[in-house]
Each structure stands twice: as C-alpha cells, then as structure tokens.
Symmetry: C2
Subunit: 508 residues, 2 copies
C-alpha cells in the first residue's frame, strides 16, 4: 500500500469522480470521495480531526473525514443538489488542511432515486419522490462471512424479493453464528487484547463494499450499530470508544444513499446500556449525519418510545403485524415490523413459522398500513450436539440461499403494492370484521381476510361509481377478476379458503 | 289432560319412582318427582306458593314446586345421599299442603356420576369424584326447532364429540334463526300481546325433555337464562316477571343433574341490564338452586369480573384460548372458553375459522389448563338475499349435522385428555418458548407446539427417571412413539410441521 502515499492529491480525486469537459462530476446522491495523504504516525483515529466543507450557492454542508489506514484520509460527500459545488478541508494537521476543489453534481440517472426519507408522516419515499415500500429481510452476519458466501447471498437477493437488508456492523455471536468474522473492527489480538483506540479500516471497507453491492440491487442497508450477541466485548465499549466508532461509521458510510441507521438489534437485551445511552446514540446520528438518513431503534420485548422526534420510524419486533395501524396512531411515523418471527424449523420460537404464517404476517402488516420484514431459519441437518456444532448456514444468520416458501409470496405482494396507487392508508372497509384494508378513498381498496375462510363478504362501496373486484389467492399467487361490477352495498362471493385478499379498483 | 286431575296423589308418585319391596326408590342424583293436583283457577304461577321439605337424618333440603298446567303441580328433588328420605309439602293452598311421603335413595348405577362440580379450584368433577373435562359445543336454538331436526342433532351428538351443550332457554332471533320457535315461554298472542304473568308449561316441558336426552348421552346442558337476540320482548322483561321465570326454571330444571346455569350469552350486549342486575341474577341462582349447579356468565366483548364468589367458573368469549393460564391465575376458577369463534364460512368474523384454527384453539386452551367450546357455522347455499332469506341450518343456530372437520379432531383430543392422569396443570416444560404444556410433575406431560414447525425441541425432563415420548399429529390424528427413551436435557426430533403435540410419560 506504499504506493498510495505517493499518489498526489488530484490523482486520488480522479479515482472517485469523472471529468466533464475537464470538470470533475458526480451524479446526484452518489458518493463524491476526496482522498488525501496524511500522517500515519501517532493515532490518526483519535489525533487527526479532518472535515470537509461543501458549498453550493447558499448551502454549506460540513462532513467529517476518516482515516482509511496507511496514511490515507478520506472525506465522503453525497451531493443532493445539482450544479457546481466547491469544497475546502479543515484539519489540525497542516498537510490535510485547506485543500480546495470543486465538482459538478449532474442529474440522477436510471435507477438512482436518492436516499429514502419519511414522507407524509406514515410513508417512505426516495429523495426524488418515488414511493418506497419497505420489504426487508435479515441476514445479521452476512458481511462477516467472506466472498464466496456473500456472492451466493447477493445472487439470492438479485431475485427481487426484498428492498432492505437488516445487518449488523459488529460481528454476531449466537447459535449458527459461532465462526470468527473475516475482520475485526478494532486493532489488537482477537479475543485477547483489543486496542480499542484504533479501528481496523479493512473491517469497515468490507462493509461498505457490501453496502454498495446492495445499492446496485436497489436494496437499502439497514445498519445495526449495536447488538447484544457478542463474545468479543463490542457490546460493552466505553463511551470514548463508542463516540469514535459512531463518528467513524458516519464519516465512512453516510455518503452512501442506501444507508439506514438502526441503533440496535434488541436494545433492551443490552443490559449495560440505559435508556439515556440510547437517547444519546440517537442524538449523535441525528446531529452528525449531515445527509439525514433514517434512524430507528429495534426492541427485544420492550418497544422503545418511538415518539422521540429524532427517531424517523418505528422499528418493531412483534408478531402481531396487524397492530401496524395502532402503532401508526401512537407514533405518527412509518411502522416497520423488522422482526415478526421467521419462517423456519428451529426450536426457538422466533424461528419456526410456517411459510403460510409469515406470508400472512406480511399481508396483515401491509393491509394495516405498515411494513414488514422477512427472515428465514431452516436447518437441514440432523441436530446432533445441536445447535452449537451445526454447520448449517441459515439465511437469518449468514445469508446464502433461501429454502422457504414465503419469499416468493412476499415478492408477489410487493408487486401488488408497488403497482397500487401511492400512499395507501388504512380504510375500514370491513366495518366490524377483523379484516384489514388499505386504499385510496373511492379509487382503490386492498383488503385481506387473514386465515379466515368466509365464502362471501358484505362491504359498502361508494354508490357513485362502479368497481372491478379481483380475488387474490395470496398463497397460490393467483389473481382472479370477477365478471360482475360492484357498487354500494355489495355481497362478494369468495372461494371460502384461508389467505384470500380482494383488490377493488374503480372503473375508469 | 283431565285424567291427571283424577289420579290420586300416590298414583302420581308411582309414575316417577320405583318400588323396592313395596318402598318407593330413586337412584342417587336422579329426579324424584312429586306430582300433585291443585287449583287451576286464578293464576297458579303467581298465587300458589308450593314447596317440599326433604329430610334425611340431619339433612333438610327445601325445594320449590311449580305449576305444570291443567291443575297439576310438581316438586322435583335430586337426592344426593343414599338411604331413606321423607318429605312434606307446604303450600298456601290447603289441597297441596302437608303432603307427606318417603322414598329410598339407591346407589348410582352405570354412567350416573352425579352433577358436575368444581374441584380443587381449577377443575371440574362429577359428584362421585370422576373428573369432568369440558368439551362443549353450541346450538343456541336447537330446542326450539321441533322433533325431526332435534333427532338429527341428538344423533350427531351421540358420536361423542362433546359433553356439554350451550343452549338458550328463550328462543333466539338472529341471522339463520329467523323462524318462530315451537313454543313460547309466556301465554298470550305471539308478537302482539304477551301475558307475562303466566308461563307456558309446554315451552319448559319441551326443554326439560331435551335436557334429559342430553343427560342420556352424558352431555351437560349449559342453559342460557338471558340473551340479547330477541324480537319478542324476552330480553326486556320487568323484574317481577324475571323473578317468576327464574324461580320457575330452578323449580323445573334444577333436579336434573346435568344442568349448568349460564346467566347470559353476551351479558354486555344486553343494553337495558346493568352490572347490578347480573349480580342479582347470579345471587338468585346461588340462593334458590338447592342442588348448587354450576353458575357462569358469558361475555360479548367485555369479560365479566369472575372473581364474584358466586360464579363457579369463568365462561369466556375470546379467541386467545392460550390465555386460559392467565385467567386461571386471575380468577382462581376453572376457565372455559365457551366461544373462541366457530369453524365455518360465513362473513361474520366469529364464524369463519378453518377447522385447523378451531382445532388449534382447542389444543392451546387445554394445554394451558383451560377448557374450550366448539361451534360450527357452514353455509351451503348461494347467498342470494343473504343471510336473511337463507334456509340453511347451521349447527351453531339450530343443530342438525356437522359439516366441518374440527369435531373429529376435538374428539381425538378428548380421548387423549380423558386417558391422561387427572388434574393436569400447566407446567413450563418449554421455558421461554411460547409452547404450552399441562401435566403431572415427573409423571406426565402433554405439550403443544401450535402452528409452529420446529424440527426439534430441547426440553429439560427430570433426571431421575426415563420417559417415553410420543409425537402427536393433532390434525391427522396419529400418535407415533419414539423408540429412544429420554431423561434430563433432551433433544426431541419432530416432523417439522404445524399442529404437532408431544406426550411424555414416565416409564413404569
């Protein structure tokens, strides 16, 4: 890596952007990366304070740089406005201070819709206004498994089931996650003696590579900052180390448009952290991430108070996804059931849902105005010395292939939701029946009848229009259009089997 | 009926009991019925106050008589002790006063176990100590439909699915219950002008015939005293009429050993009754029924405060039958989920469960220490002018045949429960998994894994014994014994499909 030290400042910049008529350019919402050579003595993680000020007309955005090892420093910036930007660095080291330059931010191309933001209280949309319906999945430790398995995971993801990946930054220690990670976040001797004052750039470089790969598949990277499943000491860092870590991941990752910040997996299972600690972390991200990515905090058994205004959406662990409507009202935010138990066959109760059950939880969540996340925990082996000696690769733990039957059904639902009018809201179409419905008044209704098997339903449609009705078999993934058109009080005949949905669309 | 008036007092008595060496006898817990001739002028229902005092050694039981029409008065008594009983009547009419006699109460025979009582806080047992596990069903209006349909209902019941029938005394007015009843409880012109001061003995005679038919099948008659589904005015009687009605049904029905008193179906849906009214009714039954039959009150959406010491058991409407364990702890009484939604295909949410769901609710209720009731609501016709014009006979409304698939599974569970050791209690065999288990410590465990599909479970069995394990497929009704025996921490392999139970029995 010695060569890097000798590359000039401008040379490094050219690696990261393009020249348009001799002018560096960067596409809107993509990463402008400034690479600088600086000191590699002392402790660059704690001693060097580098920042970049990015200016466009009246806008000034100040972002922190980070040390990437081997005397290399970087500043990453995601331009959110088109046109010419100038920048200047500030640093307590002269070599890195007062570096100036400029680039042109060009319009977003193709599938680049920008980062996901909250829209109209209950919804998500990309920065360009395109709705985002969150269909997440979970592979907690997939970034820590090496290329060959990650390639399989990415191939699985390329099938378009999901548009969000819930993943840990720190490695995970748990059943089916007993191997050592590829890299460690800190320097030192693994499991013996960490040097918590020095981060390991290779660890973070590996993660940002995965973030970029996810982005190329249109998948949000829901990064879990802390979690309790730990045998290395990463769940019990002191505040100084936590501050360094948080500042570092914001500096490294925040310029990637598909990043979401999840403060925790199961915050309430981290016994040495108090509620005030979590409030502190939330505040750090809200303050230091100048691109204002989504911020959430995920519970074990005790739901966080998501009314905290710095939390952008409610990230819920809970199996009753139909409560999405209730949580919307409580928190006045988008509601994401990131964990509602997983399809699988392990003994632990959170990992042995049938595919039917998980599919149902998705439908109930979405037709109650929420979003739902997937996970899969199928073991394949005879469970001798189970589960510690198992070499099984479970999607939920490491990624790989999907063995279940819910993912195809989730994709089917995703197509239905993405082809619906935007901003579906809960509508009480079924009055006192426990069936759920989202829609757009007078225009569109998507109702779901759970695992009930009525052979007919009676609903009150508007009287001033005529409606097409389609019967959706959410399990067999068929959509059958009824010949008859409906208006006003309508009796709709159904197949009388569970997992039925109805789509009702106003005739043009 | 003129002939009755001329039959002597002794002649009437002989109709109702037997002679043993010239001595009238009655089997323990059966009905001793004294028939007397008296005035048929005036209003015998309000003007004649007849009672019988039954004496055996130190025991004296005073029961009220009732008017059966045509100048006939009856006093019914269920002897609960063997040996010689004497009796004497008291009445404000001389002709009915001071009638004396005696009879011998003989031991119970065959399947006569006596009435069902509460045993050891959480359980039911017959008076002879035999455990009673409540497997109820519901045919609200079956007694009001006439013989041909009642015969079909009784034939269905003879298959042994259920041992309790939940049924209304007053006729019911509701969807699929729109016909007029066979008889009315009061004299007068139906739907025009009732004479609420005079009861109609034929109405009650019809019901007691059904009570006796149920008894002959070993089925408890859970009689619903009041309910809200009314078009005749029987849900809004004045207190005087209610008092007369309550006294009358106690006098007529309480001597039948299989009678249970249910104050209401859905007490909270009867808007003109206050909580104090319900407390009053409960008190009347507790005070006036000298045989101390079970007393309960069933809710619509708002569960009654079952801590009332005069309520013998908690009668719950609620679909979460797994809460039986919680309700046991709250109420310190047997918990019966009399209504947890029904298997069927009607639009109303309480009547469109799959057979799988209802079967699951039974298993979850029983393996959480409770009891569960069945109901079925299958329509067969094309729902034109639905549901008012439907001629469908639904089990839940009128009886008839069963069309569903849960009843056979309920019978399968019933056999398992009835062959288990007595007084199963909830045991936390599965620690932090949401699977339920009842058993007898160290001896017997019956666990249920819901609709989960684990391919193995890990449980901690006692280390000082060896256990047989059987895998029960609750849907396909198979029981498979594992060859291996288990002790201490045990990994038990499972078929990995939903609706699995495990039975674990200590080896002899």
């Amino acid at each position: 890596m010695q060569i890097f030290r000798k590359i000039s400042f401008w040379g490094c910049l050219l690696f990261c952007s393009h020249l348009l008529y001799g002018q560096a350019t960067i596409e809107k919402w993509k990463v402008f990366e400034l690479t600088l050579s600086g000191p590699n003595t002392g402790n660059p993680f704690t001693e060097i304070h580098l920042a970049g000020k990015f200016i466009k007309d009246g806008d000034t955005v100040m972002v922190t740089g980070f040390y990437d090892g081997e005397g290399i420093y970087k500043i990453r910036f995601m331009p959110q406005k088109e046109g010419k930007w100038t920048y200047v660095t500030t640093c307590n080291d002269k070599k890195l201070d007062n570096k100036k330059g400029n680039f042109v931010c060009t319009p977003a191309q193709n599938n680049n819709h920008g980062p996901v933001l909250v829209k109209d209280t209950f919804y998500f949309a990309y920065a360009d206004g395109t709705p985002h319906y969150s269909f997440g999945t979970t592979c907690y430790g997939w970034v820590h498994q090496g290329d060959s398995l990650a390639d399989v995971t990415l191939k699985t993801l390329s099938n378009g089931y999901f548009n969000k990946m819930r993943m840990c930054i720190f490695p995970k220690s748990y059943d089916w996650n007993n191997n050592e990670p590829l890299y460690y976040p800190f320097e030192g001797t693994p499991l013996k003696n960490w040097n918590f004052s020095r981060l390991n750039p290779a660890f973070f470089r590996n993660i940002e590579r995965r973030i970029k790969q996810l982005d190329s598949l249109g998948i949000q990277a829901d990064l879990i900052v802390f979690h309790p499943y730990d045998r290395w000491g990463f769940s019990t860092l002191d505040r100084t180390t936590e501050d360094m870590y948080i500042e570092y991941i914001i500096a490294r990752f925040a310029a990637y448009k598909n990043v979401w910040w999840s403060m925790a997996n199961e915050y309430d299972f981290m016994r040495n952290k108090k509620l005030s600690d979590w409030d502190y972390y939330i505040e750090q991200f809200a303050k230091k991430d100048k691109f204002h990515h989504l911020i959430s905090i995920h519970n074990g058994t005790k739901i966080y108070d998501h009314t905290n205004p710095l939390i952008t959406h409610a990230s819920i662990q809970g199996e009753d996804t139909y409560k999405a409507k209730e949580y919307r009202n409580t928190y006045k935010k988008p509601v994401v059931f990131d964990e509602c138990r997983y399809e699988g066959n392990i003994p632990w109760s959170w990992g042995n849902l049938t595919a039917q059950s998980l599919t149902e939880k998705f439908w109930r969540g979405f037709t109650n105005g929420g979003f739902v996340g997937h996970g899969e925990t199928y073991v394949t082996e005879n469970p001798v010395n189970f589960p510690n000696k198992s070499s099984d690769v479970l999607w939920w733990s490491k990624g790989g292939v999907l063995r279940g039957e819910s993912s195809e059904r989730i994709k089917f639902l995703r197509k239905i939701i993405e082809s619906a009018p935007s901003w579906l809201k809960p509508i009480p179409l079924f009055t006192w029946m426990p069936f759920s419905c989202v829609g757009v008044d007078h225009e569109y209704y998507l109702g779901y009848l759970n695992d009930a098997q009525p052979r007919s339903i009676i609903i009150n449609l508007p009287v001033d229009a005529s409606y097409n009705v389609e019967i959706i078999d959410t399990w067999n993934m068929t959509i059958t259009s009824l010949e008859k058109k409906f208006s006003g009080r309508s009796l709709i005949e159904l197949p009388g089997k569970p997992y039925t949905a109805v789509r009702i669309v106003k005739q043009k």
